[in-house]
């Protein structure tokens, strides 16, 4: 009887070891996959925000001097805070672990859009963000 008990315990240990091995192998793989997907979704969201700003700039340039409009962009990128910078024609969105860029049609800009509500205007062919 004692021999049988020992055998069951051994099988239990083997089984637990096998399950732990499976988890040890698959957990990092699944975790990596999930974080890659989250990263891709964040990049996609950032690209959408950049395109919104680009289209607002396009519109302001096309309408010409005197144009003014309010627009809103998301406050965060799927829970991550982000910042916006403009260098010449390059609009850059930065968030934790990522950056995306969009090219504006003009380098004549003043001010920088920020997450949330913004006002864009065309003042003598200079695109102003407030």
């Amino acid at each position: 009887m004692s021999r049988t008990k020992a055998q069951v315990s051994m099988e239990f240990i083997v089984l637990i070891s096998f399950i732990l091995l499976i988890f040890a192998v698959f957990t990092p793989f699944l975790w990596k996959q999930q974080s890659e997907i989250l990263s891709e979704r964040k990049t996609l969201t950032a690209e959408k925000i950049a395109l919104i700003i680009k289209k607002e700039v396009d519109m302001a340039v096309m309408f010409g001097s005197g144009y003014e409009r309010n627009f809103t962009i998301p406050n965060d990128i799927l829970g991550s805070n982000y910042t916006i910078n403009i260098h010449g024609k390059i609009l850059a969105l930065n968030w934790e672990m990522g950056e995306t860029q969009e090219f504006l049609i003009t380098n004549k800009t003043s001010g920088i859009p920020s997450p949330g509500k913004n006002k864009i205007s065309n003042e003598d062919d200079v695109i102003v963000f407030k």
Partner: protein, 158 residues
């Protein structure tokens, strides 16, 4: 004794393994579907961006307003929205492909620009048509007016 030996590979264990594999496969299928969706959304976003570029070409006069090959900062072919200026189109098609790609921010892509009249005759064209082996092609089609006649502008990027 034989029943003791077989305890590890009991129906319960086999069932648990099948359920585990089922969950694993479901997760993989789900991940694949999410990636497909992201990829499709990226394509749609790029198409949206391309439409926006073609909007500027057909709705805006460009900058400076009377631009030429040397001083152009923003490409625009319109006199009025959807009414294109022949001189600007001729200047556009005479420009270097690299300069056009830089101005339109499609430097990593190839493009073909064509305007056809209502009888399908080519009025103007620019770029290459070697998209045969390309994985993805984006086509934006717009209707424009040139010299009081309707025409179709196609902007193809791959």
């Amino acid at each position: 004794m034989s029943s003791n030996k077989g305890q590890l590979f009991t129906p319960d264990f086999i069932m648990a393994t099948v359920i585990f594999l089922f969950i694993l496969i479901t997760l993989q299928v789900n991940n694949y579907a999410i990636r497909e969706k992201i990829s499709n959304e990226e394509d749609m976003l790029y198409y949206d961006s391309l439409t926006s570029k073609s909007d500027i070409l057909i709705l805006y006069s460009g900058y400076p307003k009377y631009w030429n090959r040397t001083n152009v900062e923003i490409l625009g072919l319109a006199d009025k929205p959807n009414v294109l200026n022949k001189t600007k189109i001729e200047t556009f098609v005479s420009m270097d492909n690299g300069d056009i790609k830089k101005l339109l921010n499609i430097e990593d892509k190839s493009f073909y620009f064509v305007i056809r009249d209502s009888d399908d005759n080519i009025l103007y064209e620019k770029g290459s048509t070697s998209w045969g082996n390309s994985e993805k092609i984006f086509v934006v089609k717009r209707y424009v007016i040139i010299g009081n006649k309707g025409a179709e502008m196609r902007f193809i990027v791959w």
